[in-house]
Symmetry: D2
Subunit: 362 residues, 4 copies
Amino acid sequence: MPGNSFGQLFKITTFGESHGPSLGAVVDGCPAGLELTEADLQEALDRRKPGQNRYTTARREADQVKILSGVFEGVTTGTSIGLLIENTDQRSQDYSDIKDTFRPGHADYTYQHKYGVRDYRGGGRSSARETAMRVAAGAIADKLLRQQGIQVQAALTQMGDVVASNIDWQQVRENELFCGDANAVEAMQELIRQLKKEGDSIGAKIRVQATGVPPGWGEPVFDRLDADLAKALMSINAVKAVSVGDGFEVVSQRGSEHRDEMTPDGFLSNHAGGVLGGISSGQPIFADIALKPTSSIAISGRTIDRWGNEQAIVTKGRHDPCVGIRAVPIVEAMTSLVLADHWLRQRAHNLTAQTETPDISR
Amino acid sequence: MPGNSFGQLFKITTFGESHGPSLGAVVDGCPAGLELTEADLQEALDRRKPGQNRYTTARREADQVKILSGVFEGVTTGTSIGLLIENTDQRSQDYSDIKDTFRPGHADYTYQHKYGVRDYRGGGRSSARETAMRVAAGAIADKLLRQQGIQVQAALTQMGDVVASNIDWQQVRENELFCGDANAVEAMQELIRQLKKEGDSIGAKIRVQATGVPPGWGEPVFDRLDADLAKALMSINAVKAVSVGDGFEVVSQRGSEHRDEMTPDGFLSNHAGGVLGGISSGQPIFADIALKPTSSIAISGRTIDRWGNEQAIVTKGRHDPCVGIRAVPIVEAMTSLVLADHWLRQRAHNLTAQTETPDISR
Amino acid sequence: MPGNSFGQLFKITTFGESHGPSLGAVVDGCPAGLELTEADLQEALDRRKPGQNRYTTARREADQVKILSGVFEGVTTGTSIGLLIENTDQRSQDYSDIKDTFRPGHADYTYQHKYGVRDYRGGGRSSARETAMRVAAGAIADKLLRQQGIQVQAALTQMGDVVASNIDWQQVRENELFCGDANAVEAMQELIRQLKKEGDSIGAKIRVQATGVPPGWGEPVFDRLDADLAKALMSINAVKAVSVGDGFEVVSQRGSEHRDEMTPDGFLSNHAGGVLGGISSGQPIFADIALKPTSSIAISGRTIDRWGNEQAIVTKGRHDPCVGIRAVPIVEAMTSLVLADHWLRQRAHNLTAQTETPDISR
Amino acid sequence: MPGNSFGQLFKITTFGESHGPSLGAVVDGCPAGLELTEADLQEALDRRKPGQNRYTTARREADQVKILSGVFEGVTTGTSIGLLIENTDQRSQDYSDIKDTFRPGHADYTYQHKYGVRDYRGGGRSSARETAMRVAAGAIADKLLRQQGIQVQAALTQMGDVVASNIDWQQVRENELFCGDANAVEAMQELIRQLKKEGDSIGAKIRVQATGVPPGWGEPVFDRLDADLAKALMSINAVKAVSVGDGFEVVSQRGSEHRDEMTPDGFLSNHAGGVLGGISSGQPIFADIALKPTSSIAISGRTIDRWGNEQAIVTKGRHDPCVGIRAVPIVEAMTSLVLADHWLRQRAHNLTAQTETPDISR
């Protein structure tokens, strides 16, 4: 199957290029009866929007999302929901010199190989601009989940060597870097200023967590909740690693240390990150993601053109020195999409409305 | 959709419990005309087989795989391939005391919540025994890939704090721990002996790589090659983290350092791990995986039973002190399944048999 | 995707050739908690079994089905259910002369074109033998549906020019032709005797109906209940036509005649066949199917061989003069599979457990 | 999975209500390199457009389709293609009196049951207005097929009791009823005039055929070419029956009559309709479809309202007396979508580019 759809029961299909007339998505499978307005989606989009502060790209995108179907008199009808954002601030002239030259670290070379043709303007379909529709669709999933008492939130936890020592979620919400450690924020801002001067960029780390997910979500053996989450997060531009729970630290752990012991009053720890055997345990689910530094930098790089000739390239245009910042709402969106999907899947198959098993997470 | 299938065009569907009569799989989508015998599959299974050395579980499983359909006179016919392994060495009595008690770190608690009922014998469907069918099916995928000049291989790169300093693939093949560093092997063996005495277990790290994959495989924006790989690997029992290329190290990297510059003679580095924008670049693809220490240990742990009462449990039975060892062939199998699937997907959509784009990876 | 799976949430995947070692299926998505034994499946298989009377093929197949997974202590566990039937009565020598010659009306020619290789013994995968697994899987779906008060049943309504004037379901169950009109049965038996003498075969028509389906099943706009039913029934060997409700008779009907008027006490007619806009209306669902005469007949026919040479062929072996008879349980099975699938799909999406809309079908 | 997608490799996902702001579709999986303009799609849409003659509804829809992505400099890029049509001529006031009353023969009652809420304006999502996007997407599929030498065309073959005695494809193209028999056209026009006077409607029959399809397309055992075609056609509004080849006539046929004998110079007949065992044989593929008379008529009918009260209803608004006329391009579109999908599927799996099997259809 072609690759522009995600999800089985709560399913999104997206389209749109960075510099095409518009971006769009179809959200199929959203249950009827959910109150939904364009404002619900806009709020999420505004968090992701570039140009909102001086630490992200200066490109201004109105990113006004329209709901074209599936909602009637403010309520979802159960039919497919069409979403559209018109591209308004496109400076195509910025990209004319990369028409035939492959930017290193970008998908130019691989798209050209795969398709034999590509929309080179701003990276076309490979641009992170595509993720705007994920955020819009994710906002619908998020609203469904909130009604179930589930809260999904992400934070920037590291930028370069600057590590956030804790996550104060209040800080995250107020902070333009989505970072939960006020001290780290200052150091990160300083780092960005330095990078802008140097024309360079930096990687980042994001933590996402979901609280309130009841036990029983996830479909072994392949569609485990953590496996679908890994795919969802790895599908975000620039992501190079995904870990759940203690992640790579488990390599050095002993079984007696890692296994989360249980008591009638709850789990004694959460090394697993809320998933056991691919199924939610009722504990908070958490995952960490690594994002590479953006490859669009002002420092000249060696590359080739379409005919195989050696070239040097300096990426012009307006680019984030750290794509990890704007990725925070995208990470939340993809996590919400996975959870909404598994919520519906669990609804389909769970005949016994209430199992008698004690839920120690409550 | 239910979760026991993986892949879109090269698709496997598996069934079977640890202590049921047998395990099985259907491989659907394998092209006609491939020479295939049970011996091809058996060779892969034998690598995964427990009881083959003193560092893995003493349980003996013949793991004799039978091909029940889809192959005629030694050649695949294009119809679905049925595979079956009968379970022969099941000591169900070992598990009678966990019938109503949830083993910490296992899927007992979550399966009970999800389904309201579970086959408790040896973990039932949640047992790693299930992965035998992945290995059998993966061997078919692997044979297809080898015909394309693609080689998939994995190695144990870390156990606890013992790190393999390099990967000598010849060593990996000869080594019963699938480790490519002879010095590390000795330290790992010593660690296992120590853990067996203590009744404890340890985590592990695996590196998998695929060489020979041409540029152009992967289906943006959601079914990226690395996203599907992340799902495939995270769906393996005990895996808690997946990274591609430099993985979490990219957090501290600069764009000028990470982006892999290109010259007419090839890429100057491979920080990306062979995937750009979700599409293979022609460079070697590599990924790292973290596996948690097995939760089945001889050290008593706190837990609850089905009725919520406090219990203590010591897991009896025969278990690997480090599940990471036997996971190596499983990691190879899942990687091969992802690649075979994307090979067929790329065949479907790639109208222009040869693009004129220079392939600098050759 | 490869074609050996059917269903989205209640999904079956089958394998097996007519003269291979065995046939098998994986039923994935069956909810946990259903009481299920091999006897439940065997009963359905025995109805389809050849050799049970003198009007169908003399080939004897034990068709003993085994449940290999997914059921524990007599109850489904929610994991995938493996099913297996070993082929026991295969006379492969019967088919040696069609190794290189294409039987007219069969799939020999098209399989050879598609795959370049084929298991010629008894038609291999294209044999109706494959439908045994549909019947076994359908029996699981049927059991689920019966618990919801839904009854699926089919009957032979025409053979050649012999038309059943009514359907007495008691007759259908007692009758070896699955025909609900005792008078027609006699004429059909006479027709079959005549055809056996002549070495010829005849087509048939089957009616299937489902009662007790509540309003609201079906997923517009493509996965309509009737569209999925059409696919399911058309996928059965030899089926050439599927109609719902009044079928082709609607061509001559007027709107004032066709539309089923409603009153508080119920619908005044059921021209629609229980489906409106692709969604069940609560009325009985009914469909008609046409099956072609079997192409395996004792009358010589013109054909070609693999090298394009002209050949004449007389199909030997044991064959039904009217495949429509044995198709009756298969039609029931496919109908049950479609309904079980849509029951689960409706469960996933229907947030409001009870709509306030009056159900005039009750 | 939700029901607004069709196809596996050439996949469309649609959205939009009759009286919402717009209709849209995403076409995913179209290979790169196809020349495509909005004019290609518009031509197909114009054939379906209402208001083009006095025999269909007087509603005027500009139906101007826009391509929003996936095409760059006149050529498809392999990325998802977004399509949009804005709804311009909506007289919502026409429908205010059916807000709470279910029109008999329509999906009002079933949508209300399924979703608990519905966009009642013009039938909302259940309106045939939805099929505009099928036609637009089908035009892309059609263009791909034409490059392979495949031609898909449909014709109105019966309206009420007026039967077209033959299909002159030149006539079909010139004719506003898409009917291939000039004499029948006159009688049909007379019938429509009569029906308009009476305020009634009539059913219709359509024949679709595809020539040039090579042998080997179709994926047994469930995704047979004819099974997927049956689903595609049955998913069109008002369709109640689908038959392939001789259809229901096979019930009375003998095997010696039905089986299409073969010679080195070709098949001697085409009772099968170009499909054997679910795979194309290289002969012309043909199918017949029955469409019910539209339920929106000016004759008062009995029904109920949302609260179960008895009501009488006269459907106002602008409606076709025979929906079968406008369905002709829709039937072509769905047939093209099925074929394009199976073309890609066959490409994926067919390793041996040319089988040595003689193709007697050429």
